[in-house]
Amino acid sequence: MDSIDRRGFLECMAWAGTGLLWAASGGVLSSRIVSPAAAAETKAESFRFAQISDTHIGFKGQANGDPTATLQQVVERINALQPAPAFVLHTGDQTHGQKAGAFDTVAEILKGLKTERVFYLPGEHDVFLDGGKEYLERYGKGTVGGRGWQSFDYKGTHFVGLVNVLKYKGEGVGALGEDQIEWLGKDLASLSSSTPVVVFAHVPLWAVYPQWGWTTEDAARGLEHLKRFGSVTVLNGHIHQVMQKVEGTVAFHTAMSTAFPQPAPGSAPAPGPMKIPEAEARRMIGSTDVTYVPGQHPLAIVDTRLG
């Protein structure tokens, strides 16, 4: 979304009544909670959930000497949210290169989340060494064929978690694969077009920057199944920075990492952890908090920075 027109602005202002205030910043909409009291007025059917991504436990570099500490801070921030998020989505790269013990560390820290449940998806860092064996042993239970894909309904909203890092070969882009795309079609088939749908996956399902592998090669075929829905929100990680795009009724959003930022597309010779002082990096890491209010489109997405 490059600019905000009057109609768009009015739509956004509607959120003020439900405790959220939209603001246009750098051409991208962002929002914040006006006051905890206003937030408490949200209707019974409305709910909120949080997204954390790219925790990269095991990483040590200039931008962050201790990603366990920053993840712990993010957990505390999420626990302070009122009302509490119904659940939390972890959109992958729990570990940094499957470092020994990293999965255990993440599980231990996330036990501290005051929420009903945490849903997981793998990032390429979680599966590249063993083709997903360890990840699926831990988190494959209850997913489609034990392959990590999943869907669930929460208060009338349909959530779909997709895996796009297990065919992470060739040209360096994510891929869903035939089986998963076919399953997605079947999974959505019985839903009415007015059902709000939230799709989450690690690598962006839109071409953020293919030169750095920041795209999913067969995402368009998967998204074909979502075209008929009135409200689709796609939540991704992988690129360690907030980027938003709206295409028809589909709102794409990428989350910050809880560990370290990556450069804006094309702004550096290569992707990867930015070599900046920790204090500066704190302003570029954090988490995402999403609120759904019935009758309101799209979902309100709030990114909270650590520093």
């Binding site: 940094h96 290169g97 590249f128 992707p271 990867g272 070599k275």
Partner: protein
């Protein structure tokens, strides 16, 4: 005087032997740097028996993974390395399993 000349000749001989040995050792090992999401050199030609060592200078983790499964490193952290000795001639294409757009080749003759 005579013994002085001999000792110079012997010393020279030792130095020359040392240089030759050093040269031979140089030919049987080679280095590839992994930096800014690139393998450098991207094409390396070596003789059979050469041990190639990759060193990752990026803060991001990379791997050295053969396209055919001939060899594969674990995730290499900052300044970590991986070595492979090439015992048969051929063209060995490899990539980084975390960033598969990083591709390079070792040619063994």
């Amino acid at each position: 005087m005579k013994s002085y000349v001999w000792s110079v000749v012997i010393a020279l001989g030792i130095v020359l032997a040392g240089l030759t040995a050093g040269h031979a050792a140089e030919r049987s090992s080679a280095a590839i740097s992994v930096q800014q999401f690139k393998f450098a050199p991207s094409v390396l030609t070596v003789r059979v028996g050469t041990t190639v060592t990759w060193t990752n200078h990026d803060e991001e983790t990379h791997t050295v993974t053969s396209a055919t499964g001939a060899f594969a490193s674990a995730g290499l952290g900052h300044e970590e390395g991986f070595s492979e000795t090439f015992t048969s001639p051929g063209r060995y294409e490899y990539f980084c399993a975390l960033h598969p757009h990083m591709k390079a080749t070792v040619i063994v003759r």
